[in-house]
């Protein structure tokens, strides 16, 4: 299973080296990867539907309980099949959609990176590895939204999406750590058995809030929804794949995955119902005011995600069943509509629905796909959408509280979604063909075939619901912790209230479609309310935040080394001085101090003389040399107190420092007076204060009883464990080798920094850009 997840990553790396072969006709071969993975996951269907759960664990960081453990149950199987199945169609579609694009190979690289990350996300059984894959999906989404990186709007949208989903990722990590500390494990399967303990914990609410923020940002719930319409700047295959079928459902997946852990609690259910409810109605209304086809689809996607959140919030068996079916329904029809929109955009260059019409005369197969998808989206029998809608109504009617409001909200949403589906799937194909589009070329087979396949599946699953019933839907419900074995999906449930509601929805929706046409006037009307939308508020917030941070940076990062040093020293003196002043117990135990020998005294005198000479000399070079004297005097002190390692290193460092100073100072003009008398006095006082504080601190440390446990351990084990007699070196290269490794990495980074700053100066022509 690890290989299946890594395949996408490996392919992405492979493309880096062999990209130029995949830019041309061979591009279509990339689709073999998701196709193979789809077949692989499909082969698990019989096992999973018989109730088995397949798990595999690979150790990663066992010391922290972080493993690469994967679990394939009903829920992850459904998502895996969606990811690979729709992935296959999107990969194939892209070969035609972006044919001849300069960076086609790069696009495929990002897509397969995303696919692998998404598979990892839905298969992970360890919260930390889930988090890692979660972040990888955000990052690949960032690259895909910003794929047209010459367009500033694309870049801005990519950044917004990364900002919002990154914030969610941060929240997920916080939630994961909190859950880990409550339950003592990061394994989601193990958490399932600790439901009561987790619900009883005082941190339950906090953990749930963190998980909510993660899920709501990823799945574009109100008020975090606005990144999704922006993400429509991405090429259409991306919108289809990431921003309607898979990635945005990661939040839904997370909520479903945690339903057995967190569910059946009032806070959990109520919040989800409210947030999901607001999102579904709010964005369904928003969809009315769009003229861009992708805008309509974006808002209807958000609305559909709202419905899913709402259904998870209802938390009944019927609601879970409805959610499972609706995930399939939505993936099928929404992906089709996006593909159809992409084809229209690709062939005509227009996505404005008010300017489109009559395209059936040119692209009949596309029109069929669009209309079938619109039917499924509207929930007209015999589509699978009808099944989904019936189940949703059924579940909402059995809501425990506010049943009337809930039913009205869901019916309203469904009516508006029907309108959106019709506008996107039917309107461009009916009516009169505008003059300008008379000689539009029909799209290629590779483009319309994926759309047709998805659209037909949407109808097929409706007529034969047993195709998905025990294979996909029921295992999902059982992995949510409910038993659905007594339920049967069917188109016909007899005359009842639900059927009546369905009839009302369809009738009103179609009526609305004929009387409310999308228009630029409507769009401008909603534009007036833009200033109170979450998007504008967030943007203003970010704006002021960056203004503030620019101000803050200018104050503190002013680029003068002397100011930095002054700030640091002042801070240290005040803080340490305050602590010592509040706790004035400097006990100097004179008996512990050893006697001062003549040569020690001599060295100290040399040292002090060196310091004074450094401060008062008129020549820069002499000051540097005097500093060298100070350094060497300190070396000698190290030698006296038996730290030869330290002395050797200090000696070499001092030599090099002097050389470095000389190199820089050599070229500077003769001694200039850069500071006045007052500044020098101030600096002198500050230095003296630091010296006093450090001295007092050292004396206080000496007065404390020393703990030699650690030193003893190293001294005892240096030879036994590490075959070395020089304890200092053994600590450096063996016991604390990772620290040393980090330090040499930092050194290397510093050297690269110096090199970069001094060598890679931009030419004046480059700088102006």
């Amino acid at each position: 299973m690890l290989a299946a997840i890594l395949l996408g990553f490996l392919f992405a790396i492979f493309l880096v080296f062999t990209g130029k072969f995949f830019r041309g006709k061979l591009a279509i071969l990339s689709a073999l990867i998701p196709a193979g993975l789809f077949a692989y996951f499909a082969s698990f269907i019989p096992q999973i539907s018989s109730g088995e759960i397949i798990s595999k664990t690979y150790q990663w960081v066992p010391a922290f309980g972080v493993d690469l453990s994967f679990k394939l149950d009903g829920l992850s199987l459904l998502f895996s099949l969606m990811i690979t199945g729709i992935g296959f169609l999107v990969f194939a579609y892209t070969a035609s959609y972006l044919r001849g694009h300069k960076y086609l190979d790069r696009f495929y690289g990002y897509l397969s990176l995303f696919m692998a990350a998404m598979l990892g996300l839905v298969l992970s059984d360890n919260l930390i590895s889930l988090f890692v894959f979660w972040e990888l999906t955000s990052i690949s989404s960032f690259f895909l939204i910003g794929f047209n990186n010459t367009n500033p709007a694309s870049r801005k949208s990519a950044l917004t999406a990364l900002g919002i989903t990154g914030f969610g990722g941060f929240s997920l990590l916080a939630g994961a750590l909190l859950l880990g500390s409550i339950s003592g494990t990061y394994s989601i399967s193990e958490m399932l058995s600790m439901k009561e303990a987790i619900a009883g914990s005082e941190y339950y609410i906090l953990a749930v809030v963190f998980i909510f923020v993660a899920a709501f940002t990823k799945s574009a719930q109100f008020p975090f929804h606005f990144w999704l319409p922006g993400a429509m700047k991405a090429p259409t295959p991306v919108s289809t794949y990431l921003h309607s079928a898979t990635m945005v459902k990661a939040g839904i997946y997370l909520l479903m995955r945690f339903t057995p852990v967190f569910g059946d609690q009032e806070f959990w259910n109520t919040t989800l119902i409210i947030v999901g409810g607001i999102t579904m109605v709010y964005s369904a209304i928003h969809a009315l005011f769009r003229t861009d086809l992708k805008g309509v689809l974006a808002y209807s996607t958000i609305s559909a995600l709202g419905i899913l959140v709402f259904l998870i919030g209802l938390g009944t068996k019927a609601a879970f069943l409805a959610a499972a079916v609706f995930i399939i329904v939505h993936a099928l029809y929404k992906a089709t509509l996006f593909l159809v929109t992409g084809i229209i955009d690709h062939q005509t260059g227009i996505r404005d629905v008010t300017k489109l019409g009559g395209l059936r005369k040119i692209m009949m197969p596309v029109a069929i796909a669009g209309i079938l998808a619109a039917i499924s989206s509207a929930g007209i029998p015999p589509s699978v959408g009808f099944l989904g809608k019936e189940l949703t109504y059924e579940a909402s009617m059995h809501a425990e509280t506010f049943t009337i409001i809930i039913v009205i909200a869901i019916v309203l949403t469904k009516i508006l979604l029907l309108w959106a589906g019709f506008v996107a799937g039917i309107k461009p194909f009916v009516g009169k063909l505008p003059e300008a589009h008379k000689d539009v070329n029909p799209p290629g087979f590779l483009m319309w075939a994926p759309a047709i396949i998805l659209a037909v599946l949407g109808i097929l699953f409706g007529i034969f619901p047993m195709l998905i019933e025990s294979a996909l839907v029921k295992p999902v419900v059982s992995s949510l912790g409910a038993d659905a074995s007594d339920y049967h999906l069917a188109l016909w449930h007899g005359f009842n209230t639900v059927l009546l509601l369905s009839a009302i929805t369809i009738a009103v929706g179609i009526f609305l479609y004929f009387f409310l046409k999308p228009s630029a006037k409507l769009e401008s009307r909603i534009g007036k309310l833009e200033f109170i939308s979450p998007k504008s508020i967030t943007e203003k917030g970010t704006h002021y935040f960056s203004v503030f941070s620019a101000f803050w940076t200018n104050v503190f990062q002013n680029g003068y080394l002397r100011n930095y040093v002054t700030t640091i020293v002042l801070f240290l003196v005040v803080l340490v001085g305050y602590v010592m002043f509040g706790n004035p117990t400097v006990l100097i135990d004179y008996r512990q101090l050893s006697e001062v020998t003549a040569y020690e005294l001599a060295v100290v005198i040399i040292l002090i003389a060196g310091v004074f000479y450094t401060v008062f000399t008129k020549s820069r070079l002499a000051a540097v040399a005097a500093m060298g004297v100070v350094g060497l005097a300190i070396c000698l002190i190290f030698v006296f107190y038996s730290a030869p390692d330290l002395a050797m290193t200090q000696f070499s460092i001092d030599t090099l420092t002097v050389i470095l100073f000389v190199l820089v100072l050599y070229r500077l003009p003769k001694y200039l007076t850069l500071s006045d008398y007052k500044m020098r006095v101030r600096d002198g006082i500050l230095s003296a204060a630091l010296g006093t504080v450090v001295c007092l601190l050292a004396l206080q440390v000496l007065a404390e009883p020393t703990n030699t446990e650690l030193g003893d351990f190293y001294a005892k084990n240096a030879y036994i464990l590490a075959h070395g007699k020089n304890v200092v070196n053994v600590i450096l290269v063996d016991f604390r080798g990772i620290d040393t490794f980090m330090e040499i990495s930092v050194l290397a980074i510093a050297a690269i920094g110096v090199f970069g700053l001094l060598k890679l100066r931009l030419k004046s022509t480059d700088r102006s850009q």
Partner: protein, 136 residues
């Protein structure tokens, strides 16, 4: 600064100091010394040579940019830590040859780690000093 005496001396001092730096590197396991200070001494050797003979001559002697020593050293240190992973032990477990080698003494993964540190330190020091002296 390029007096005849210094120039002549530095030609002989360079190999001697380099051998000395390797000596310091190798003795580090039993006696004061080690990769860090060894690397500094080697760097001083080159800097001294550069002082006496000019930067270009030293660079000609090196044949490659000292910056390349950084990734080489980092990689060596990293792989010395990874070696135990290959024999199914956790990262950076010390591995040792059972018998000491003549002259060098005990050889283990820690020695290679130290050599990595040695190379990185030379690379870093020389890169910084060469860059600054070129652009100052």
């Amino acid at each position: 600064m390029s007096t005849l005496i210094l120039r002549t001396a530095s030609n002989y001092l360079l190999p001697v100091l380099l051998v000395f730096s390797i000596f310091i590197l190798l003795r580090g396991h039993y006696l004061p010394g080690g990769g860090f200070v060894g690397g500094l001494i080697a760097a001083i050797a080159f800097v001294l040579h550069a002082f006496a003979n000019g930067l270009d001559n030293t660079k000609g002697l090196l044949r490659f940019h000292p910056g390349f020593l950084m990734p080489v050293g980092l990689a060596l240190a990293f792989f010395s830590g990874m070696a135990p992973v290959l024999v199914d032990q956790s990262f950076m477990t010390g591995l040792w040859f059972p018998q000491p080698f003549p002259v060098i003494g005990n050889v283990g993964s820690a020695l290679f780690f130290d050599i990595g540190v040695y190379l990185v330190v030379i690379g870093v020091t020389l890169t910084i000093i060469f860059t600054i002296s070129e652009s100052a």
